[in-house]
Amino acid sequence: MQDLDACVMDVLARHGRDPTRLLQILIELQDVLGHLSPPCLTRVAEGLSLPRSRVEGVAGFYSFLHAEPVGRYRIHFSDNITDRMLGAPALMETLCRKLWIEPGKVSEDGLVSVTTTSCTGMCDQGPALLVNGRAITRLDHHRVNEIAELVRQSVPLDAWPAAFFMIDDNIRRRDALLGASFEPGSALKAAISQGRADWLEQMRLSNLRGRGGAGFTTAVKWQSCRDAQGKDKVVVCNADEGEPGTFKDRVLLTRFAEQVFEGMTLAAWATGASLGLLYLRGEYRYLTTPLRAVLDKRRQAGLLGKDILGETGFNFDIDIHLGAGAYVCGEETALLESLEGKRGTPRIRPPFPVTVGYLGRPTVVNNVETLAKTTLIALEGGAAFAATGTPQSTGTKLLSVSGDCAFPGIYEYPFGVAIERVLEDCGASDAQMVQVGGASGVTIAGYEFHRRVAFEDVPSAGAFMVFDSSRDAFEIAHNFVDFFAHESCGFCTPCRIGTSLLKGYMDKLAQGFGAKMDLADIEWINRLLRNASHCGLGTTAPNPVVDTLIKFRPAYERRLKSLDFEPAFDLDAALDTARRMTGRDDAGAHLNGEASAREAQR
């Protein structure tokens, strides 16, 4: 146990034995120890003077933390629908076969485990997987064979071919943000010379609305935080980007980190905040080193730290916190809990974070893209910013385009762009439906492709997943339902139980055992989720099912054993004699043409 003790003491010391660092401590301990054993949790609890039960509760919440022994190589295939369409399930099966293991189990020698995880944000270059937290994209059978070989020979990850870990930006269309060249510090200089109040006024004029989903007016949020009672205000950048099909924040953090950090500093200038926190999803962990380098550079340039740009009393610095596999932590109050080292359970709102946020301090939580956009406002003024887009949705929007199209990647358009325009640009010639805004977003059918991406029409946090005519709307919705059931935090009754019940019904339909009654139950559960859930995860979880039930209902009805009742005998089979006598076997000679044609193929 000497090892364990020394290890725990070392990590705790590095984090100043600060209980708010609990999640960071557990992540680092797992790096060294492989998994978080019961004695390890006991030591951590003692070292932080926390109840052990609380430490165990946190360790059990995050899907990248393991209380049981796991393989020395932990392989997680991204299970988003776009990865699946690119062949992820077959590749995972191949890998498991090559390694002689069952999915979800650890190999007997403790070498490797292979399982799935929620969307890893690599949809434009899938299928993707994470190996010990590091992303490998563009998987094919060749690459999977190579991975199997490297694992079998226990080659350390650092010695794996560097090309495996290359992640593309795939920026396809540049506009105001992606197209501009940016001088670090220039936006901040402009805002400082305007003064705090006038800078906030420019923000108000811009009418910038949050890019993280809810579309709340950023200036109103900043002003509420500025006016809130309480010292040591906080600016949080939400880089959890867990919404399936979304990856634009990854590209911003890769290529435009200066703008993101400068945006956080601009928020601090407006609100008087002194602490900045970037909450980075665990899947993007590989970005921490480059991001920390950018932070260092900015400190040296006087853009962070004390008396920023010589402005006496303007003190602000930024730290990075890692998530560990929990979509709900993108919800701003769950995110604050997670930042405090707790389970990611959404809080009761009100009070809102702007008055009671991180450790009770007034806190602004903004999306990565929202913050990056504020640099444009500082440089060009609020009115200029508001001149693009639509009156209610000003500026541009980054779309993460993936699925059935020739050119997946990042597209920046002024708000108000028509869906058909995006489809044309990305080379989606055979689109049947588009999922805008991710699993929790809106399913758009062909007859709606004239609609526009804007808060007042089709709102979007950025995902834009294209499905061609070969795809099945039911399977897509089924995948999203699985996602929500997996990601529900379990705090409230309707979502904890409802998402799992919904998954059960979808599984039943998928297996061909559905009855019309089931559709009624599904609609009833959807209503409860929407009306009674505690946070946006539960209220939006039914969206894909609600939308596809309306717009693609045949995809469900095809799966029902019968529409109205379940006969005790097979009516269609009873007609077989008549068919033989008349020599007919076309669809019209069957009671349920489609279903029996399927039967015949088996």
Binding site: P38, P39, L41, T42, P51, R52, S53, R54, E56, G57, A59, G60, F61, A326, R343, I348, P350, A485, H486, E487, S488, C489, G490, F491, C492, T493, P494, R496, I497, G498, T499, S500, L501, G504, D521, W524, R527, L528, N531, A532, S533, H534
Partner: protein, 234 residues
């Protein structure tokens, strides 16, 4: 600022800081709940106390009353949703009421009577949840847990022991106790703790007092929970 809101068409006066649920109950209007307890801040997880304010669903235990609110609570729509939430709780755990020591004193069962829940509607999950009999005085039967976290809150905030906590998430969420062995017997839990007597269902049970009051003569056998709860808090 004190004020007045309308609850199902009837005026209800409230004092500054009161939630909808508190004000309604103080005025003699019952709103069903399971995770709410007068001695603790609102928790907002069971969602039984949902009401509609201006057409929007909210948790009445957590939302402060405001002057002029128009609130719907005791309506077929809301009660239907509450019933469905109860049905969900029943299928999530393993509730065999006839053999449960808590039967008749159980708030989940009492709410099911109150809201006229006659069937479970959904498929049962039949989770595997072992019983913990390691403590000399207290038995833990996790099969019946509804995750109201009252034991968690009582042990942490009143007893100062944090004997209970939740781990895992979603449908796999479950209670753990404050011991490396995972056994209640290895904690400093006492039958005198507040947490020992706060469970609204039959999870945390004293040993050796089985069926002291016969089923049929227990609290909610005699009176509906709406009356009992209002009398208790008066």
């Amino acid at each position: 600022m004190n004020g007045r809101f309308m609850l199902d068409g009837q005026p209800v006066m409230f004092e500054e800081g009161q939630t909808i649920l508190q004000a309604a109950k103080a005025a003699g209007h019952y709103i069903p709940s399971l995770c709410w307890h007068p001695d603790f801040p609102p928790h907002g997880s069971c969602k039984l106390c949902i009401v509609k304010v201006g057409g929007r669903h909210v948790s009445s235990c957590a939302l402060q009353a405001k002057d002029g609110m128009e609130i719907e609570s005791n309506t077929p729509e809301i009660n239907g949703e509450r019933r469905a939430l109860l049905q969900m709780l029943f299928v999530e755990g393993n509730h065999f009421c006839p053999s449960c020591e808590k039967s008749g004193n159980c708030e989940l069962q009492a709410q099911a009577y109150e809201l006229e829940m006659t069937s479970a509607r959904f498929n049962y999950f039949f989770p595997v949840r072992p019983v913990d009999a390691s403590h000399p005085d207290i038995l833990l039967d996790f099969n019946r847990c509804i995750f109201c976290e009252l034991c968690v809150r009582a042990s942490r905030d009143i007893d100062g022991k944090s004997i209970f906590a939740l781990t895992n998430r979603g449908i796999h969420k479950h209670l753990v106790v404050n011991a490396e062995s995972g056994r209640l017997g290895d904690t400093d839990f006492s039958a005198l703790d507040r947490a020992a007597s706060i469970c609204p269902v039959g999870v945390i049970l004293p040993k050796r007092v089985g069926f002291a009051v016969p089923i049929g003569e227990r609290i909610y056998d005699e009176k509906p929970i709406s009356l009992v709860s209002m009398e208790k808090e008066r």
